[in-house]
Amino acid sequence: MPQSPLLKVASLSFERDDCTVFQPISFSVEAGDIVQIEGANGSGKTTLLRLLTRALEASSGSVFYAGVDIDQCLYDYREQILYLGHQPGVKLNLSAEENLRWMSPASTAPEAIVSALADLGLRGYEDVPCYSLSAGQHRRVALARLLTSRAQIWLLDEPFTAIDKQGVAFLEQCMQQHLNQGGAILVSTHQDLAITGVRKIRVEPADDAGGF
């Protein structure tokens, strides 16, 4: 028996109020793979990523983590994923440092947090409450999680929103490094990635979708 892939998505689909959001989708992801999820606005990229976190329950199909249905090994699976959505969960009233400490694994060293923030260009902003950060800086606080997390699978929903070019280059470098270390990345973005070996998957809206 061949070894089962890290993540396998088997004809996954999702209905909202009896209305299918996207056509059943199947693919699998190995360690070291990067998959870019493509699709027009409203095609269901975010929905797919949230299905993969199991925050949403699929209407049909399943997701296998190392060969096991994720419903069977939910906590183990969730230890291995890192999800950054459109709203990344930065508390406006906490400082960047407090936010990152809070979002990182409990065992993260304080120095690791400070250096992750510095890497993301937030040196000098560690103690500023997040509500007085600019849009890009706010987003960078959330992205600093990529440097402190130990999860193997990254699920990133438009991570480059509001980030300047330098920042995008740095993030791409981080992602490359994560892949080299045996991680896997699923990323939805409308920009082209400057990473080699990106596999693209298109999410197609279902025929009956729409607001009719």
Partner: protein
Amino acid sequence: MSNAHNAGFTGYLQRDLLLAYRRRGEAASPLIFFLLVATLVPLGVSPEAGRLEPLAPGIIWVMALLATLLSTEGLFASDYQDGSLEQMIIAPQLLAMPVLGKVTAHWLVTGLPLTLVSPIIGIMLSLPSDGFIPMMASLALGTGCLSLVGAVGAALTVSLRKGGLLLSLLVVPLYMPVIIFGSATVQAGIDGLNWFAPLAILGAMLATAVALCPLAIAGALRLVSSN
């Protein structure tokens, strides 16, 4: 595994306490609400001690209930808006644990200070001195119930931006037993009767709520965030 669950509890407890500390002004507001409204009542009703005295236990309990209710409203709202609720849901833990952590933090910043400050209102409303100990005991237990039950409603309405007063419709009917036994405890204390009996019932309600509510809250959060 169980370690991770505990980490969820203490982690969220600490975070919410820190957040409350950062927003001290807001965290103090249930308290101030309690005090201010207690001053409104004599203005509206009558300033005479003789007329206020029989009302005191009831009014104190109604006001404590409202103060808790109002502060429960935002328990999950900001977490929902900034996406940290989603992160909580997909964390590798029993969802009930962080939920319990958050509710405990809520009680520590509302129910507890409210209990501690209640004697002042007792004095303002001429509560007879025998009522003070029963009042504080019943408030301590009762506000715990209120926080837990209120959190169920807060979870159900979290995705309705500004569910605010809808929440009160959902949970006030569920609060009625607490207020009945709460004010009965104080009244029994004043009348020199055995006030342990109603207090024990409040305790039993609290125990039930601690056992059941976190599960209901977790279920509600999962459900509402999957829309």
